[in-house]
Amino acid sequence: MTQNTDNKQLKISGAEIFVKCLEAEGIDLVFGYPGGAVLHIYDELHKQNKVAHILVRHEQGAVHAAEGYAKSSDKTGVVLVTSGPGATNAITGIADAYMDSVPIVVFTGQVRTALIGNDAFQEVDTVGITRSCVKHNFMITDVHDMAETIKKAFYVASTGRPGPVVVDIPKDITEDFCEFNYPESVSMRSYNPDIKVLDDDIDLAVKSILSCKKPVIYAGGGVINSNASQELTDLAKYLNFPVTNTLMGLGCFPGNDDQFIQMLGMHGSYEANMAMHDCDLLIAVGARFDDRITGRLDKFSPNATVIHIDVDPSSISKNIKAHIPIVGDVKDVVNQISKKIVQKNLKPKNIDKWWAQINEWRKKDSFGYKQGKDIIKPQYVIDRLYEITKGDAFVTSDVGQHQMWAAQLYKFRKPNRWINSGGLGTMGFGLPSAMGTQLANPDSLVCCVTGEASIQMCIQELSTCMQYGLPIKIINLNNRYMGMVRQWQEFFYEKRYAMSYMDALPDFVKLAESYGHIGYKIEKPSDVDSAIIEALNQKDRLVFLDFITDQDENVFPMIATGEAHNKMILS
């Protein structure tokens, strides 16, 4: 496909340039699904062996896989899909990545430029319909712009507050020729992610930290994105301050540490929510005061001075007014605060009384449950998974009750180990994100905690797992209900269980087997351990563990929508 022109410069096709750009960017893996508009690109992928391609079974799976890949590593996830339905199928995943700030670049094929706007076969306005759920998007309309646009796409996706970037490529652009030059760096006058932290803001924060009596560190996914877990943990340990995590922040502070007061929010621990309500200093680090965290806004942390550290200025004072706003990269800010406290050996006030109060709240054991002899409690499965895997597995989840139990009970000790859909709440996320996680961490144990409703939303990816030999362990908490929907119907709709019963379920063991995997059904509490151990022993195989669990179990504590943090339903 190469041509020598008069001036002896080597011209190559847009499709070849595309693949060379990925290579130059250090991308070694792409998740995708071919189709008419991207056939030139697939042909070029076929001719080389530097960029591998994982063929999913549905484009939504490709994007979730790329998310899992990105969240469990420090790399950017890459997706390649065709135009029209390829692009629309990818949108759920793109929106998911946008809500959870996941760095991915999604390349979508497009019809030929001459056909755009003509309602051509497999044409959609991809740039238009993804606009509100991307960090940015581009359409390449000239092959000469391809390399620079791709460079920009990776730059925008992975810097500042990360997010998804879509690049739409019309088919004719991939067959046009030009010279290939991948820019070494990129600068955009309208986008500058390097934020200079103001010294005065740091001083104000330090003053509050050293004078407070009832502090809480409320740390979110931004800590993990900024790769600042160690720095934050060191500072929190030095200060002896209690730390709570958002759903997205789990693992950024060791879950088995005494200073950890568990997750906060709608299904957070009693001690975390009470501490949030009663604190006099709230240090929000890389968290965004989402409605599932704050509950009723006017009753939120009524007596607290709020320090809010975030790389995205629009997250600050959006829901809760920050008294001390600090815009900047979390790692940079935490380091600067540490410099003014730890390195100067300054000590905060004694907070023994605050800890005594927190320990009093802890006695409620709000995540507790009673495992009897007959029916498996879903929490018990997570507890056993945690013990048997020594808290060291990568755990992905779908959305619902099982997600909350995994978040509550699997005490993540390291960042990037808990891969779930927090903001968008996408059922179907668990299995494909586990594929990406396994591919980014080929020698590690990856477990997908799911439910019988969620798993069916991307069940087709069992085929992808077979093709690429991904030895994921699926922990299916099967209660025959969309559990979280059932729970809300029990509490708020007088037990009218409209459409939440999962009728006509498949035999998951046979289903797993039909895809070539191993499946077990577990019905007795006494069999839980042996099933998990057996699954872990199958190191090279995907094992589907179908745990038949208590149908009536609910996630507690629970803060009903519009209630304050100190108004929890405990059981």
């Binding site: 238009g128 606009r131 509100s132 960090k135 309208s190 986008y191 200025p313 629009s314």
Partner: protein, 156 residues
């Protein structure tokens, strides 16, 4: 409260819809929006008139700044500024009295155009408040009103 926000943005395809889409997606009000080339041929300047309390306006400015194509955002009502709008009013010639016509002709802020079909187009360039007053005075005889929306510039 009413605010005028001036936005300098890259002349990229779709940049206008990013801004318009942001306002609808986040339920921000738009009273008027105008966009035209700026002193820099690769950038356009957009003037948005919006309303909301301080918290909302803070979010509007932050969210605009977050758009990758946006180079600069300034809230010009925060400081001294000049603001102008243009309005055209089409009136049937028969409904204008001689007295009115002579008032219009001597008003330095108005220009009068005549059409082939005996209609009068009055062109008015002024602050939106004055334009509102003027439009109010002709509302019973106006056949069509066309307004540009405000543009503004800092004057301190």
């Amino acid at each position: 409260m009413r605010h005028i926000i001036s936005v300098l943005l890259e002349n990229e395809a779709g940049a206008l819809s990013r801004v318009a889409g942001l306002f609808s997606a986040r339920s921000f009000n738009i009273e008027s929006l105008s966009v035209a080339p700026s002193e820099d041929s690769s950038a356009s300047r957009m003037t948005i008139v919006t309303s909301g309390n301080d918290v909302v306006i803070e979010q509007v400015v932050k969210q605009l700044n977050k758009l990758i194509d946006v180079i600069e955002v300034s809230e010009i009502t925060a400081d001294e500024h000049v603001e102008r709008e243009i309005a055209f009013v089409k009136i049937d010639g028969k409904s204008i009295s001689d007295k009115m016509m002579s008032d219009f002709s001597t008003n330095e802020f108005l220009k009068i155009h005549k059409t082939k079909s005996n209609e009068i187009i009055i062109e008015c360039v002024d602050s939106p408040e004055k334009i509102n007053l003027f439009l109010n005075s002709v509302k019973n005889i106006a056949v069509k009103i066309v307004r540009s929306g405000s543009v503004g510039i800092n004057s301190n």
